[in-house]
Every structure is written in C-alpha cells, then in structure tokens.
C-alpha cells in the first residue's frame, strides 16, 4: 500500500506519462506483494484494458474529436467570433465577453477544453492584447472560459462519466447546458466590471448592416447545437449518431459552404483524431485496469469509510465527492480522474440517494475547474504549449475566475434544478 502510493506519486510528479504511471505502479505492486499470482493478474490487467476501450458508448468520442478537429482547421471559429463580436464588442468588456460566448458556442462542437483553448484562444488573444488587456488576464480568461466548453454538450467528461457509472449520456449532455450558461453569465458580468474599473477601451458600435453580414457568415455554425442538442433532446439521435451527424455536418460546412478545407487538411485532421483517440483511450483502458485492481486490493474499503462515516447525508456525500474531484483534477488528467474515482464513489452515491445526473454535472464541472487550477491543472500546460508563455503569466489572473467557478458550484448544489430541469423535461415529454 505504501510502496504503491510512493511509486504512483513519484511517477506522477516526475513527469512519467500517465499510462505508464498507472500500469507501472500496478505491475510493481503485484510483483512485489503477490509474486505467485502476478502473471495471472497482469493478464487480467490486459483484459481490463480491452474492456476499458471497447464499450459501445465510447465510439462517439473519436467522432466528436474528429468534428472539432475539422472545424478547428477551417473557418468556423473565426466566423463565430466575428458574429458575436458584432453584437457585444461595443460594450465595456466586449472582447472578453465575446471570448466567453465564443467558448460556450464552440463547446457545442468540441468536447474538450484543449480544442477550445486552441480554436478560440488563438484568435481572441491578439485582439484582447491589442485592446489593452493585460497578458495574464487574457490567458486566465481563455483557460477558464474554455471550462464552459467542457459542460456544453458534447463533452468527453460526460461521456466518460456516463460509461463509468452507467448513466445516460444523453441526459448528462442535457444537464450541462444551463450550468454552462450560468457560468457564461457570471464570467461576462465579471469581465464587464473588470473592464469598467480598468477603463479598457471599447470597440466602435457596428451598424445593423454589418451585423447582418456577420450573422449570415456565422449562422451555419449554429447547426451543431441544433444537431447535437436538438437531436438528442428530441430522441432522434443517440450520442454516437449525433457524433457522426456532426462529423458529416462539419465536413459539409467546411468543404461545401465555406470551402476552406483542402484534402491534405482533412487527412491531417483524421491523423490528429487518431492520435488523440489513442492517447485518450489508452488512459481510459489503463484507468479501467487501475480501478479494477484497486477494487481487487480493497483499497476503497480501507480509505472511504472514515471519510464518509456511517450513513452519510446527501450533502456530505456531494461535498466530499466535489472536493475530491477538484483536488484530483489539479494533478491528473480529468478523464483519468473521472474514470477511476466514479466507480469508487458510486455505492455511497447510490445509498445516499444523490441524483446521478446532478452528480455527473458537478463532477464534470469540478474536473473542468481542477484542470484550470494551479499548480498542476493540465489546461495550464495546454495554454503554455499553445501560447508559449511562462507558467506564472498563465496562472497570474486565475484567482477571480476560480472564485466565480466555486460560487457556481455552490449555486448548483443549492439549486440543483438548474442542471436537472432540462433532462427531466426531456424524459417527461
């Protein structure tokens, strides 16, 4: 147990790939403590890796990655930004609000924060800097607004949570929309006040003729939320079908309507999708092996009872789960955290009567917040990678956003209906 923890912690901190950290710690553990059974257990690990990567529900992940990848290579993100900017650009904080809103809408195409940081941040950051915003503010803004994309369907977080806990992925998708919009409103209010106090200049108001052109250019991008949210809400599409429909629409949009993609670009987006799929899925597989093994080693039974106490109340379960996810996602990739932790908490969650869909929303929100939080949130490193700015500059302005996100979590715990009324409506109708 101690050796296991030490190997896990040190491999994590010294920058071993997560897949090696997970699989290597398990292999070390079985060979040191159970040498007789080791070959059998490692074979079981292989089997668990296979089980982890093959649930039918996970097939939608590469498809959502693919449509986001096609869109990122094309013009959609730029057109989306132009459309929103033409309406809010003249307000105080117009450009940061444009960033927030673009991330939210782009979230309806992409399932991960990383893709959103790249697509929206790459375009918005030069504009924000030119308008006179401080560099660390722009980075904090971009990293944290991309969190909203993690709540707006499609979201890889929801898909993985749904697979790990056998919760309906379609319903989880619907539950993320209003919390995402809530955070959008709160962030925008903050940006409005911040820009007013700092007296950052505003853009000239655009005429209605300009706005109409911008709408005409950008409106086709809104087809994605219609296909994904509308299709799932109406019960017409399963998540996998919605994913393949969005790939179809992305190809149609970028090749036929915008004519922005060359054949090489398309092949490259296939390749990038393949790589991201491999890198993400092996983590899911390793996570499955890991969670099976710690179940086998009975670690949850040792660690959890003192944490939860006997017969915990609903609020206590929610608080513990939320805090654990938040802390875990500061250190490891959210996909790994969700996949390993969810099955462990599941019995307590069920016995305390917590709504699994509400918890899924909270968990995904925490995963998004944690991965944008210093010291080790993985979105920070993504931003470092994309914008090539030093670490301290990236995290310099994350505190206000972090506080807003924590406030949003509290609001969500107090008023769970924000997340739940849309899924309830869909199930009722």
């Amino acid at each position: 147990m101690t050796l296991f923890g030490i190997s896990l912690g040190s491999m994590l901190l010294f920058g071993f790939p997560f897949m090696v950290t997970l699989l290597g710690s398990l292999i070390l553990y079985v060979y040191v403590y159970m040498p007789d059974f080791a070959p059998k257990l490692v074979t079981t690990m292989v089997q668990q890796v296979i089980t982890g990567v093959t649930p039918p529900a996970l097939v939608c992940v590469p498809m959502f990655i693919l449509s986001a990848s096609i869109i990122t290579g094309g013009e959609s993100a730029g057109r989306l930004i132009r459309m929103i900017k033409s309406f809010v650009g003249h307000l105080p904080g117009g450009l940061p609000i444009t960033t927030n809103a673009s991330c939210t809408l782009f979230g309806a195409v992409s399932g991960s924060t990383q893709a959103t940081v790249a697509a929206i941040g790459g375009t918005m950051r030069p504009m924000l800097l030119e308008a006179g915003y401080k560099s660390s503010f722009t980075l904090g803004l971009i990293v944290n607004s991309s969190d909203i994309a993690f709540l707006i369907p499609p979201s890889i977080g929801f898909i993985v949570y749904g697979v790990a806990t056998s919760t309906s992925i379609g319903m989880l998708f619907l539950s993320g929309i209003f919390p995402g919009l809530l955070i959008l409103v709160m962030f925008s209010a903050y940006c409005f006040v911040y820009s007013k106090i700092k007296k950052v200049g505003v853009l000239p108001k655009e005429t209605w003729a300009e706005r109409m052109t911008a709408i005409k250019d950008g409106l086709p991008v809104m087809g994605f939320p219609v296909i994904i949210v509308g299709g799932i809400y109406a019960g017409f599409f399963s998540p996998t079908e919605a994913a393949s429909a969005s790939v179809f629409y992305a190809l149609f949009l970028e090749t036929v309507i915008y004519r922005s993609l060359t054949f090489e670009r398309i092949v490259d987006s296939f390749l990038q999708t393949g790589v991201i799929t491999g890198v993400v899925f092996i983590l899911v597989g390793a996570g499955q092996a890991f969670s099976w093994m710690i179940g086998f080693m009975q670690i949850p039974q040792e660690v959890l009872p003192p944490l939860f106490g006997t017969d915990p109340s609903m609020l206590r379960v929610i608080l513990i789960v939320v805090v654990v996810y938040f802390v875990a996602c500061m250190f490891v990739d959210p996909i790994v955290a969700i996949f390993i932790l969810s099955p462990i908490f599941q019995p307590y969650v069920v016995s305390a009567g917590v709504d699994p869909i509400l918890l899924g929303t909270l968990v995904t929100l925490q995963a998004a917040i944690g991965s944008a939080t210093p010291p080790f949130g993985c979105d920070i490193f993504t931003a470092q990678l994309i914008f090539r700015r030093p670490y301290l500059e990236v995290i310099g302005h994350s505190l206000p956003f972090l506080l807003i996100l924590i406030l949003a979590t509290v609001i969500l715990v107090v008023f769970p209906q924000i997340a739940l009324f849309l899924p309830n409506l869909a199930m009722g109708g």
Partner: protein
C-alpha cells in the same frame, strides 16, 4: 530489446538503424490511423442513414469496436514517438537540461520496461484467445483477430522508448521522444523529421 546491443560501438550505424526504423514505422502508423478514423466515420455516418431509411447495419457495432482498438493501440506507439502522451510535465520542464536528460532516460527506461511487460502479457492473452477459438457474434470472425494489434502496439511503444534513450545518448540536448525534441515544437504533418 536485444537489437541495439550489437550496434552500440558504432554510433553512426546506430543512427542509421534508428532512422530507418523510424521511417518504416511512421508510414505504417500514419496510414493505419488515418484509414481507421476515416473508416469509422464513414461506417457510423452510413449507419445513421441506414437506420433512418432501412435498418441498422448488423455488423456496425462490431466493426467499430475493431476500428477503435486498432486506432487506440496504433495511437499508443505513435503518441510515444511524437511525445503526445499526457503527463504532468511541470517539474521536468523546469529542470536544467542536463538533469532533464537524466530524468528522461530514467523515464524512458521504466516506460520501456512497463510497455515490454504489457507486450509480453498481451501476447499471452492473444495466444490464449487463439486457443479458445471463439468467434464474434455478428461477423463470425475469430475473436483473436481483435487482439492482434495489442501486442504490436505495446511492442512498438517499447521500441519507441528505447529509441528515445538512444537519441538521448547520441545527441547533446535532451529529447522527449525520438522524433520531437520537446512538446513545444510544432509537429510536422505526417512527415518524419530526423
């Protein structure tokens, strides 16, 4: 793992071997990744149409499972080669280059061992599946065909980690992977840059 021991005396041969292996593997991996993702996309899109107008393709789920596995395990080794695997690199990036190099060699050695063990046991798993002779429910294919890629993927990942060690031994700067010096480098599309 025995391949590199014979060549260690002559670094130029070692370098040639490294380069040749890199090119062959790159061409294979890129074509598998691209065609699998494309095939998966086409299959799922066609299936939506088929379901709407006729009926679902009966083998769609099985083939998509096969394609996902092929993509995943090919991506594992491609990810090693391009330094794309997700990790927490904060401390490693902050180290002075010499120390980073030492750590990279340790990391790659441990990773190569772990991947090597996974290769061996997934090969055993494959042999086991061949002996049982189960067939898949829809296409009546032998189910071991699904697992062939696993030892190959892990095995290639092992080789890539060994290549990274070689790269770090023969070059002055620390290298994250045999093809990429650091994650911060722009990735060349599909090409080998050695």
């Amino acid at each position: 793992m025995g391949e590199q021991s014979g060549n260690e005396k002559k670094p130029s041969k070692l370098r040639l071997f490294n380069r040749y292996l890199g090119k062959v593997v790159n061409a294979m991996e890129v074509s598998i990744l691209v065609s699998c993702v494309a095939a998966l996309a086409v299959l799922l899109m066609v299936n939506v149409f088929a379901r709407t107008f006729f009926q679902s393709i009966y083998f769609a789920e099985e083939v998509s499972k096969f394609l996902v596995m092929l993509t995943t395990f090919t991506g594992v080794s491609y990810g090693v080669r391009k330094a794309r695997h997700i990790r927490m690199g904060a401390f490693l990036d902050a180290m002075p280059p010499k120390m980073e190099k030492v750590f990279l060699i340790i990391i790659c050695a441990v990773s190569a061992v772990v991947m090597g063990i996974m290769t061996w046991f997934s090969y055993q798993y494959l042999l086991n599946a061949m002996n049982r002779g189960h067939v898949t429910p829809a296409l009546r294919m032998p189910s071991w065909t699904f697992y062939v890629i696993i030892p190959i993927g892990f095995g290639l990942a092992t080789i890539q980690y060994i290549r990274t060690i070689i790269k770090n031994l023969i070059e002055k700067d620390p290298w994250q992977s045999p093809d990429q010096q650091s994650e911060y480098e722009d990735e060349e599309v599909g090409g080998v840059q050695l």
